[in-house]
């Protein structure tokens, strides 16, 4: 077993692109962006476990259709688990569910554990999980170029009220492309400085200024090389007579096809149900149904 001590990005799934050529990859990026937004709204707005289960099924179904290995996709949540566990615990311990309409499961000192508590904790966990997985699905199936084009198209109406949508989209595009470059560069720098005996780990007896100074051999060259690349990019763009967004025509036009509309409609329906489940107390209904099946 030898995980490199310099592996910065091993279990980071968010932001990773997997070219499997599935139908999801070929969807119009605007659909995917809107779907992401709708997912965000729906997951935040729902209060029903059943509804969340629907959203989860949607996302997992997405992974399957996109031919993303499930275990890899779901592992993206690993860095979040400690925090989410803590949050769930806090939910149970600190926030009393003063609803008399719930069964008490356990009591220990001042801690009361009710079914409501468990449900609330599960809701919290699932909300974050579904969002994380949903957005990683988005990044698995959409290149940064597509994302930028999609965002720019969606923001174009704002240009009419004076917001520099094109410039902003370009800026974000540049930023997106640079982040992976920075990761590679950072790894290279860490290795090069480590080869000179640099130690990026923290000692116990160091104050924060000293720790900062230890990071300088990595951070300073990283930022300087970024600035150098920026100069090259500026030169390249100016040499191609880029003068800003006004009156600029586009090579790539996004055309929404029927399957894009269908996909969007389907997602909309599922997510609407997710939210509706909360309002219709779907959880209670299902709970009662299960209870009645058991007793019959």
């Amino acid at each position: 077993m030898s995980a490199s001590e310099f592996d910065l990005l091993r279990s980071v799934t968010l932001g990773q692109y997997l070219p499997t050529g599935s139908v999801l990859h070929r969807l119009d990026p605007r659909v995917k962006l809107l779907a992401g937004l709708l997912l965000l709204v729906a997951v935040t707005a729902t209060s029903s476990l059943a509804g969340l289960a629907l959203a989860l099924a949607l996302v997992v179904g997405g992974f399957v259709v996109a031919r993303v290995p499930l275990r890899y996709a779901l592992s993206g949540i690993k860095p979040m688990v400690p925090f989410l566990a803590l949050l769930a615990l806090l939910q149970i311990v600190a926030i009393p569910q003063n609803d008399l309409n719930t069964t008490l499961l356990w009591r220990w000192a001042f801690v009361t554990l009710t079914v409501r508590d468990l449900v609330a904790a599960a809701l919290l966990f699932l909300k974050f999980a579904v969002l994380m997985w949903g957005f990683s699905l988005l990044s698995f199936t959409t290149t940064t170029t597509e994302l930028t084009h999609g965002t720019e198209h969606l923001l174009r109406p704002l240009q009419r009220i004076g917001l520099p949508a094109h410039e902003f989209a370009l800026m974000v595009n540049i930023a997106f492309r640079f982040v992976p470059l920075l990761a590679t560069e950072a790894e290279r720098l860490m290795k090069a400085q480590a080869s000179r005996g640099a130690d990026f780990g923290g000692g116990r007896r160091l104050n924060f200024v000293q720790r900062m100074r230890k990071q300088l051999p990595l951070l300073v060259p990283l930022i300087l090389s970024s600035l150098r690349r920026a100069e090259d990019l500026i030169l390249a763009m100016e040499a191609r007579c880029y003068t800003g967004g006004r009156g600029r025509t586009h090579l790539i036009h996004l055309h929404a096809e029927r399957r894009d509309y269908l996909a969007l409609a389907g997602i909309l329906v599922v997510l609407a149900l997710t939210v509706a489940a909360g309002f219709l107390s779907a959880d209670a209904v299902i709970w009662r149904a299960i209870a009645s099946i058991r007793t019959s």
Binding site: S2, A194, L224
Partner: protein
Amino acid sequence: MNADSPWIELRDIHYTYLRGTPLEAAALRGVSLEVRAGETVAVIGPTGSGKSTLLQHLNGLLRPQQGQALVLGEDLGNSAVDVREIRRRVGLVFQQPEDQLFERYAGDDVAFGPRNYGLPLDAVRERVREAMESVGLPFEAYKDRLTMTLSGGERRRLALAGVLALEPQMLVLDEPTAGLDPMGRRSLLQYLRVWQDEAERAIVLTTHNMDDVALLADRIYVLVDGRVVRVGPPRQIFGDPGFLLEHGLGLPSATQVVQALAGRGCSVPVDLLTLEEVADAVERLAYERV
């Protein structure tokens, strides 16, 4: 480690990046390599053949996932090995090493290495002085210069000095002359030669420049697609130009001239390494004809 054993022994090394994820990529598929005291070993191969990955196994930046890596008598598969000590004795110089300069003043950057190993100030100063002199940057003149105001070639030599200041036994260089102008290239190679001749040292380098290889290397490993496809001295390797071209590799200028001559019906031996040798051989042929 006895006096005769090789300084570096890599046996059947395998390495895959991001193993276990859908993005995994095999970089080395069973590579074996040996470096002895006093040798200069060159590793050549097309881009993506795994050269950089291989080099990083030589100072413990990467540990073999499979196979054995013995460096200066230490087994790098053993996690108890003092890797920092290995990194001091095996100096690894990355591509474009001038990118790693970060100190305001040139002397300070060269001092970074010795300082990391806890040497006292006067020892550091001595190391830096020697290292800078050996790359052609006189200590008193350059130590207070602003790092970023030096020319590209000067900064590369400064970065090299930074590694030399650790007084390594071996230098491992990844494309040391990439991006240098011809004069810069020549002087860098000269400094490397001088450094090696000073004491019992070894050099491992990767490069795309076959003339460098013809000049410096005692042995060449040809790495293609993560595997060693041929090993041998330069005359043997460059004596089979067809093989190299087949794998997308270039040829030293001498070999190119020989091939061109052969194409015009002038048969000069193929295993010539420098243009001077080719000129001599052509001269001889001319005398023979006469």
